[in-house]
Symmetry: C2
Subunit: 342 residues, 2 copies
């Protein structure tokens, strides 16, 4: 079994596997060249281009997994949401979700009809990538936050206000999004994805109490609904220190951890039944290698003996030198083996 | 002693004191009326206007403390930093700090010369507010983040990159900012401020390790430098769950806590030697009163028996109905007394 998949299932590995969130993207000159000719959504919607962007970091960095190049908002368009990705801003939604009728207007995603290009890209990648392909989708809370705010937000206050003021509509929204995300992830696995990651980037804005009331049941349904497929299920968010136990309770095989919580403490919070993915601060990759090396080494030393996938605590920053990422991969592979994780 | 000051010093009180970060500001119609005629920095720099903005929420809401209406960037201009506050964006710095020579170009603040209007506003308020006046300043990390980024930032990656890549310049920057902030807070106390709050809004972006290396010594110096003045010193940041013990170690009398960490857990992390301020999610104040009331009551029930100042976990959101804030003040005063904190 490839070491990435083995580590996700807390099996022994020859060395620690490593990949980077947003490894495909603006930090790579070959991606910037691609973007000179194509828009982001064009790349996401053209199987050959999405596959090319996905494979660029695999070739250059030697990572242990390929994550499908896409954006969490891609499945929203076929669900009837009018959106665009504005450079320097992010996803902008034409008509934000602010009332029950807006929730009811969201159509369920039928992956074969709505996102055939994504499935075709995954099929091609599964045959050619040489490493496991990670499928992915946005989690209901994070998708809802874009839908309700109308775009990126500093504090997600409109989303929370909607959640607090109209709980029935909120739960209906989470149900709709959750069902579509489940169908989306299942279809990616059927197309050949060897693992899936649910991105709940902004869920760390919530207290544990709110997470448990408004989010956990719906995320739990997604992980339950994937259980029979026998692929590792990863759950990731930022600023989730107080939610790690709740996130583990939702049923993933792997929990992503950001740089704020050391991995040994994260392991205490999640309990031993999940693997951990993380957790170097992406801003550290802007520093000279002499600064990066001891920090990465310390992460490896503090990680659980089995069940660690090295990653950043959030996505690669666009201004990152890919040479640093390449050296990180080499370091993790060398030190991970020395530490006897295998 | 006014109950706000008593609670800060963990003394018995008749009922729990309450104030709100950003209680003066856009949530109040009388403030919006003021803003129709004056820019933010004009208000900050005109003692009568700053005093008026400061007192508006005291009159309307019945809070137990008045926080000086100002902005953390106000003292930067007399330190030689060319800045403006752009509506909808925030502070924008003309020439960001990116190298040692930029650090060396920052002049020390001499409060009487650089910010006489602030001190005059505090003097007037101390005589007329009827409640303790809280002076305030930005903490070195958060000020540095504006200086280095050139404005508000999503992930403060440039700030961290500077910190990691040029530690000597970073520490020099923190020293310069720290000395000026200390002088600024001392001058406010001399003018009549009965307490001070150090705003380190963005410090929660750092891991504990980085906080201890790059920030704690300089914040500690500020609190040490205020010790002889015998006024409560409050230290506040957002997303600081993993830093609460470190923040308490810096030497404040009160640590501000956001909504992610329940107060009983926060109390375990800080230890019993500091009071706690917080921690209702400001987004909850956008919800109907039936949703707000049980959450506020639960905070009072979970707070330490002595040493709790009720507040939000971050500033009042502009779209907040001040009627909700008024009811919150009444609730805290009523329940705080029932719970026998006194």
């Amino acid at each position: 079994m490839p070491r990435f998949l083995a580590a996700c299932m807390r099996q022994p590995v020859d060395t620690t596997p490593v990949w980077f969130m947003r490894q495909a993207g603006r930090s790579l000159p070959e991606y910037r060249a691609l973007r000179e000719r194509h828009g982001i959504l064009d790349i996401c919607r053209t199987p050959e281009l999405a596959a090319e962007a996905t494979l660029q970091p695999v070739r250059r960095l030697g990572v242990d997994a390929a994550i499908l190049f896409s954006d969490i908002v891609v499945p929203l368009a076929p669900m009837g949401v009018d959106l665009e990705i504005v450079p320097g801003v992010g996803p902008v939604i034409q008509s934000p979700v602010r009332a029950r009728r807006d929730v009811d207007a969201i159509k369920p995603l039928i992956p074969d009809e709505g996102v055939p290009y994504v499935l075709e890209a995954v099929r091609g990648l599964a045959a050619t990538a040489g490493v496991p392909v990670i499928g992915f989708g946005g989690a209901p809370f994070t998708l809802a936050s874009y839908l309700v705010e109308g775009g990126p937000s500093k504090n997600h206050s409109r989303t929370k206000a909607f959640m607090y003021a109209e709980p029935a509509s909120w739960h209906r929204l989470m149900e709709r999004l959750g069902e579509s995300v489940l169908a989306y992830l299942r279809a990616q696995v059927a197309a050949g994805a060897a693992a899936v990651q649910l991105f709940d980037s902004w869920v760390g804005e919530l207290s544990s109490e709110d997470f448990r009331s408004y989010v956990l049941p719906w995320v739990g349904r997604i992980f339950d609904g994937l259980a029979d497929l026998d692929v590792p299920r990863i759950y990731f968010g930022v600023g989730t220190g107080e939610l790690l136990a709740d996130m583990a309770e939702a049923g993933p095989d792997v929990v992503g951890v950001d740089w704020r919580v050391p991995l040994d403490e994260a392991h205490r919070r999640t309990g031993p039944r999940v693997a951990l993915q993380g957790n170097l601060d992406p801003a550290l990759c802007l520093a000279p290698w002499e600064v990066v090396e001891p920090r990465a080494t310390a992460i490896l030393a503090g990680a659980p003996t089995t069940g660690h996938i090295f990653n950043l605590g959030h996505g690669v920053l666009p201004e990152t030198d890919p040479g640093i990422l390449r050296r990180l991969v080499e370091l993790v592979h060398m030190r991970g083996a020395e530490d006897g994780r295998g």
